[in-house]
Point group: C2
Chain length 496, copies 2
């Protein structure tokens, strides 16, 4: 090896950059199949496909910090070089919503109003990668731009429910929970919290509701709380009376929507924005109920706090309710696979005009993992039938055979490695997950027959069978050449 | 408007970066459908999907100029920032072959040998954009890595032929032409050209064969040639005798493969590499013929020179032979939609070991354009049925209707704009390409009926019909509410 000496062109490392990965075979096709089913539902709801460019100007993405000469961390960005030297900054999109806002602002005169669109594709984040956390991943969004009607929000929830069932999450295994930022705003009003900083503190606190519970939130809204680790967390400094509406809000879920709505009305007190939020939730519940989406599929749940800081109206979250074992072997609910809500100011950045919008983003990898958990995907993938090469000079014969098999609709390939060692050919077939191998040596050729090995049965016999059974259940068959395809079909049907 | 005063955050321009574009609706779904058909063929041939990361290290891409501290022009690249400051350079992939080489080198112990893989997705080029030339576009590749067998080359050609027919290019409208770089190497040997620079000059010259013809190539190989523009192009400086084998090579195509092969054998004279190349072409032709791919689909054609500079063995090019009108209204053949060949040194960069590989790349946009030319795609796309909103308080009724229609498998949506002006609702339906609109006002609700407007028929009548015909062929129907879905099905079937 002269590697060390070869100074001119040291060998590059064959590695993906840190935080990136490759996807092979079924990983690609299963994702594509799932996305295709979701696209079918989106399409049936009147949503139109949009594929925006992966590259945007940093200005359009809105991630440019005005006082810094570089785009901020979260994005992959670079400076264009043009004829005069340095040009503007470009960046890879970090989600599908920011590009939608740009597209809508750019093409709004040609698009229908409202504009229902769906988008699927990779997005990139310039973040520290971690286990299972990649810097390129798929998103799958649907949004309605240009209408303030809560019917659009209800439609998104119904569509999300249909999507989950379409890809194979059975009814009862998921729940779409709906909350409303306006109700929280009403609660803040009822509390007398008008300072933006204090409102943000309250938001951060209720975000911890899942973890610390009602008592913990009370402490954090008041004087503070001793952490499990022993650290003291400062509180927001509200009085107990002031904290009451937030607690009422978070714990307002009742046995049915009517009960929940009554509790929420009480929580927002006299706040107009709060009442508007409760009205919206009531309308959404009514619209969904009329279409048959009962509380077992979509329900009002004011304890959904994720996204409340970002969205401006209704907020949705889809949770899978079946249990899995976590990395420590403890049972827990599978959890969230999609989220969304109403956001009304994204297009305004470009046009100055506020454009109402609402939408959903499905976590593609999370949903795929869920389908794997449920055994819907990820089973043994059947490989192609392998036509072995016994006689190097008769490649034309073997290619004709493989062509015949394929023309019958059966996935098949010819062995293209070195054919000298027949054992290697069978090892290859094994690695490919082949259901059957076809063999035609000189002897078979002369007698007008082929041998077909049932590789699945063969493997089962090799593992489990007694000698008697082995003899009784042959896994290799000799058939006339003209019956090759028919016999293969029979074997594959038997394996199915 | 306070735009000018708002210095803190000037409005960003809603524009794609130069050279990038967005794809809408049918542009996205037609491409996806075409790629899905091609993936089906690739899969049937035993090829496995691979989706490598869009981002690679610049070293792995092999576009790093060792003496320059920046990656070279053709790629979009940026420098990683890590904890210690500047890190390595990353870049967007510029094709799907360079990533394949990296993936194969990285995962070769886990992959079958040979490894058949296909890949589809966007690639990026940092080039000056032009009309119809974008800096992000799709490629769709299939490659076999790890076998030197010409059976792999023949298989790629057969598969390409199947792909073209599968997506809708009829037999007779395409031709896959096969040549071999080794034959050209033999020709260069026969000419006595061993200097690499001179060989490159010869390659550049034969690349002009299409444009300047046999006489032009003779001049350019010799003393030079007066250009159409009046400029004098220096020649390679070969003698007439030396030029003879190249001319024989370029014009060796005969009425059948046997004739072509005989001409090629004469052209390469006593060259061993040349004879090897001719043998390979003979084997490829034989293997394809045995499977029924006749010369009307795949033929040997030594005048294919595109790619001869890059590939190391067999070279393939798929041309569409039907005529179209170019931008100046002149008839010309549609031309190339795919190309490929054998390249044996890509993996060596990483591992030091030479790994034989062969493959094809389909020009996705070109093939889509061809299907559009042939009327296979791009017709009027039918939009969703639109359920109009006559009474804002009865949204639940309308959403129930739209839900019923969708559950019958019909694409449908509710109008979500401001319902005040009914004319706007019909304008919206028109913009959406809706086949029908459903109307249920208070009167209809009371009588238990709905109105259904056949919008396609309505448009035809409005354009062409006399008043008599108008009366005879109603385009609006009143049906009982319970028959809404059935009537819609009837109307859509009639439009089909």
């Amino acid at each position: 090896m002269t590697m060390a000496k070869d100074k001119k062109s040291p060998r590059p490392k064959a590695e993906t950059p840190k935080g990136f990965r490759d996807y092979f075979g079924a990983e690609v096709t299963e994702r594509a199949a799932m996305l295709s089913k979701i696209a079918g539902v989106y399409h049936r709801y009147g949503f139109e496909a949009l594929e925006s460019s992966a590259v945007e100007t940093v200005e359009a993405l809105g991630k440019f910090l005005p006082d810094v000469d570089r785009p901020n961390e979260g994005v992959f960005a670079w400076q264009e070089s043009d004829d005069e030297g340095k040009g503007g900054w470009l960046a890879l999109r970090y989600d599908l919503t920011a590009p939608l806002a740009r597209v809508y602002a750019q093409h709004r005169n040609d698009l229908p109003t409202p504009y229902r669109r769906y988008a699927m594709g990779p997005v990139w984040r310039n973040e520290k990668p971690g286990p299972g956390r990649f810097r390129q991943f798929y998103q799958c969004d649907a949004d309605t731009v240009g209408t303030a009607s809560v019917a659009a929000d209800a439609e998104i929830c119904a569509m999300l429910s249909d999507c989950l069932e379409e890809v194979g999450i059975p009814r009862g295994d998921y729940l779409i929970r709906v909350n409303n930022r306006k109700v929280l705003n009403g609660v803040l009003e009822a509390m007398g919290v008008s300072d933006e900083g204090q409102a943000a503190d309250v938001l951060r606190t209720i975000d911890k509701f899942d973890k610390v519970g009602e008592a913990g939130v009370r402490e954090l809204l008041g004087k503070g709380r001793l952490d499990a680790s022993g650290a003291y967390i400062d509180g927001v400094g509200l009085s107990e009376a002031q904290a009451e509406p937030v607690i009422a809000f978070l714990t307002s879920k009742a046995a049915d929507a009517a009960g929940t709505l009554a509790n929420l009305r009480a929580a927002v007190g006299g706040s107009a924005i709060g009442a508007e939020g409760v009205d919206e939730l009531e309308q959404i519940a009514g619209l969904l109920d009329a279409q048959g989406y009962d509380a077992g599929r979509i329900e009002l749940d004011p304890s959904v706090v994720r996204g409340l800081g970002y969205y401006t109206g209704p907020v949705f979250e889809a949770e899978l309710t079946f249990e899995i074992l976590d990395e420590k072997g403890r049972k827990r609910q599978f959890g969230s696979v999609a989220g969304g809500g109403r956001y009304d100011d994204l297009v305004k950045r470009f046009t100055g005009q506020s454009v109402p919008a609402t939408g959903i983003s499905i976590g593609v990898d999370r949903l795929l993992a869920a389908l794997r958990e449920k055994g819907r995907i990820g089973g043994t993938v059947q490989g192609p039938v392998v036509v072995t090469v016994m006689d190097r000079d008769r490649m034309a014969d073997y290619m004709t055979m493989v062509s015949e098999i394929r023309n019958a609709g059966i996935r098949a390939e010819i062995y293209l490695g070195n054919p000298k060692n027949f054992g290697n050919q069978l090892k290859y077939a094994d690695k490919r997950g082949s259901p059957a191998a076809v063999i035609e040596g000189g002897d078979e050729k002369e007698r007008g027959v082929v041998q077909i090995k049932d590789l699945i049965l063969g493997a089962q016999i090799a593992e489990n069978a007694t000698l008697e059974e082995w003899k009784e259940r042959p896994s290799q068959f000799e058939v006339p050449r003209g019956e090759m395809v028919a016999k293969l079909k029979e074997i594959l049907a038997g394996q199915g």
